[in-house]
């Protein structure tokens, strides 16, 4: 299973990559919107974790673009700030606030991939 992690924080990229690879997933990393779309097309991930605040484009727009390409692909919004009240994020399959405890992230990924 391939996970596309979209986040501009290089430490978080590494943390997610190591932790998720330990769980047995293949992890590809994108640092901005442009890379994210390229990898989304080339790598055809099974799931995406998506930050909202990115250097070139906001994550909501990215979410919409990815949903247009593949409406069924699960996307987890993973952000530092709680945007849960923003209905735009409802288009995603899940919403989590980033935490040093990655259990919620891992269980969400597992749940969403298990459904497929």
């Amino acid at each position: 299973m391939k996970i596309l992690v979209v986040d501009d924080d290089m430490h978080i990229q590494r943390l997610y990559k190591e932790e998720l690879e330990e769980e047995g997933y293949e992890v590809v990393i994108a640092s901005n919107g442009k890379e994210a779309i390229e990898l989304f097309d080339s790598e055809t991930p099974d799931i995406v974790t998506l930050d909202i605040l990115l250097p070139d484009v906001d994550g909501i727009r990215l979410l919409r673009q990815m949903k247009e390409k593949n409406p069924k692909l699960p996307i987890i919004m993973s952000t530092a700030y709680d945007y849960r009240d923003d209905f735009a994020v409802w288009a995603s399959e899940a919403y989590i606030v980033k935490s040093s405890d990655l259990d919620e992230l891992k269980s969400t990924i597992k749940k969403l991939l298990g459904k497929q």
């Binding site: 978080i12 943390l15 190591e18 700030y81 709680d82 009240d85 980033k98 935490s99 040093s100 990655l102």
Partner: protein, 815 residues
Amino acid sequence: MDIAHLQKLNEIIFENILDGIIMVDRNYRILTANRSIERWTEKPASDLIDKDCRDIFQNIPWICPDCVAEVTFQTGKVHTVMQIGDHKGSTYYAELSAYPIMDKSGEITECVVFIKDVTERMLYQEKILGSYSKVIQKNEYLEGIIENSADAIVTADLNGTVTSWNKGAELIYGFTEHEVIEKYLPFIPDSIMDVEREYIERIKKGETIKHVETMRKAKDGTVFEVSITMSPVKAASGEIIGFSCISRDISNRKIIERELINRNQELSRLFFISSAMRGTLELERLLRMVLTAVTMGDGLGFNRAILFLVDEDKNVLKVAMGVGHTSHEEAFQIWGRLSLEKKTLSDIMYEIETGSLKKDSLFDKLSRGIEIPLSEETILTMAVKEKKPFNIQNVIEEPLSDVVLVQQLGTYAYAVSPLISRDKVIGAIWVDNLFNRRPIFDEDMRFLSAFSNHVATAIESARLFERITLAEQELENIFESISDMVYFISEDYVVKSINKAVSDRLGKPSEEIIGKKCYEVFHGLKEPWANCPHYKTVDEKKAFVKEVEDPYLGGTFIISSSPIFDTTGKSIGTVNVVSDITELKNLRERLIMTERLAALGEVAARVAHEIRNPLVSLGGFAKRLEKKLDGNLKEYADIIAKEVERLEGILSEILGFVKETRIIKEIVNSNKLVDDVLFLIKSEIDEKGILLDKELGEPVDLYVDPNRMKEALLNILTNAVQAVGSNGTISIKTFVKNNAFVVEIKDSGVGIAEEDLPFIFDPFFTTKKIGTGLGLTITHRITEEHKGSIEVESEPNKGSTFRVFIPLNKVADKK
């Protein structure tokens, strides 16, 4: 009757008859004489007997009884002569009659002579004769005048049948005497027949109508102006049997007169009228002046006048006022009175301008209701629309005549002139001459038009003035009813005028405020208040706005102070408008707070990234270290990971609090909402072995943000779970009370100390070892955002009860 008696009777008559009687024989010897003879002979009658008659009357030579008797003796017939003579210095007339007395043979033996004093009768007769000759002379003279007069002199009986017709009449009217005698007055135009009958009625009462200017019609049909004098003709008995009418053709005179008068006086009249009117700004008064000027003989001299004004809203011409009489009779009475009172136009103008406004005349009332839609095509509306005057000589021949005027006012001919002010038609003046039937001439129209222009300007000014007066009243009303305090202060701080709000706010009647120093009444000070903007306004002569805190009145006020100047530009004080913004200020402060919070929310997202991201890496890698390390190092990594988790928790709470909340409301089933919350906390409840007592009432529709509302309830439940500890009880009930959905959460926990109760909703207030102290603050805020409320009851060591009220009417509104 016997002879003796007859004899006696004869004697009585003989002695008492006023005529002197003597009887003479052929020798003129007086046989008998009565007493009346003594008037002439101045001797007793008995002395005359047997005397010679010729001797007796010798001294009265102009009385000669023997002369009369002599003729009778000779002719044997009664003979009468008139004898005239002087007697005691006066002329006397005596009529002597001799009657023959015959004997049986038929011979005249004696004569009886009657001497009658006919002086009075003769003198009277002479007088009559003299008069008669004079009358004849005069008559001839009069007839000469009449016949040769340039004036038409006509007499007629009371029915108007012509009895005489002079040459003048023939020249002026064109009818010969032959054509008109015994016929009805032929020269009266049909249009003024009524007026003429009115004149005849007055003549019947003995009046003379002098120098009335009217119209006459010649044989060829031309109508021209004449001046007439009509006098009654009386019979010898004094009875009025007819009238004479002298008419003079004044057309020429009129024309010259008009030219002169009009040219010279038009301007002065107009000047007078318009200057009088310009001074009168009261519209009602002005209109009356205008119409009086139009109808007075000294003015334009029309019989009736109506002033129409354009009502733009209704698009009609509306009668503003009418002046004139309702009947011929009234017209004549008033004209008569006016000419008796000798009031000039300026007298009357002055009366209208200064006197009390008279009650509306009947004509005014009659005309006031009239409205003519401007959409109609009539003479009046055309005058307005085309901005030009019209002179309608005969309404019957003019198809566009205003029917309403013909029907309601009985007009047969009229003129209309538009009132134009600054190129805008504001109305029209309508005039007619119903009573004297004088046609309206071009000169009249010129005058009327010139007058209209002046009037229009004056009316426009008066209307403006009226509007200003209204506006003033309105201002006065606003001044009184405005909730802000408004007051005028003179330069030396004296309160001159205040509105009701001032006396309300100060709690004093206006009498106790006006005239006082402003710093005394407004600030309770003995000298001007340092913060007062009045001083600065007076000083700089500029409007000035200042927000002040006034401890005396206990509030915050915005004072707008503007200087006021008299007509010469001298500053006389300030007008101040004061708004009490105490309440507003409180609101404003809260708004500022909210804005700050919102701004905080803006940056919160960015801050979150800057802090949370490093925390996530820090904690995440610490956890990874923990897995790979042993002993103390593993413990250190664990400490780092735990502390990071704590920091993350604090960050979430703080960010959640400052975050701008956007409520997205939807209709939610009340029981589902509660069940969802319970589901979220169920694991914790189960873990701790807490007994949950759930008692949900009939579900209702709530119009709330379900996520926010869940958060609110969850915070209370979380606190309850923490408070009860193991084996405690939490009961949750829902019901509807006072149009609100109520969620009651009751725990058997530690409870809240009485002294802590007032603070439980304050931010960062907590008695717990864990948590930020923001939970209930957030709950409280969410509830307020939904216009709901929270009730708390608590007893230490027994537990707490929270009731959240969510209003239901919002649901009804939404549906």
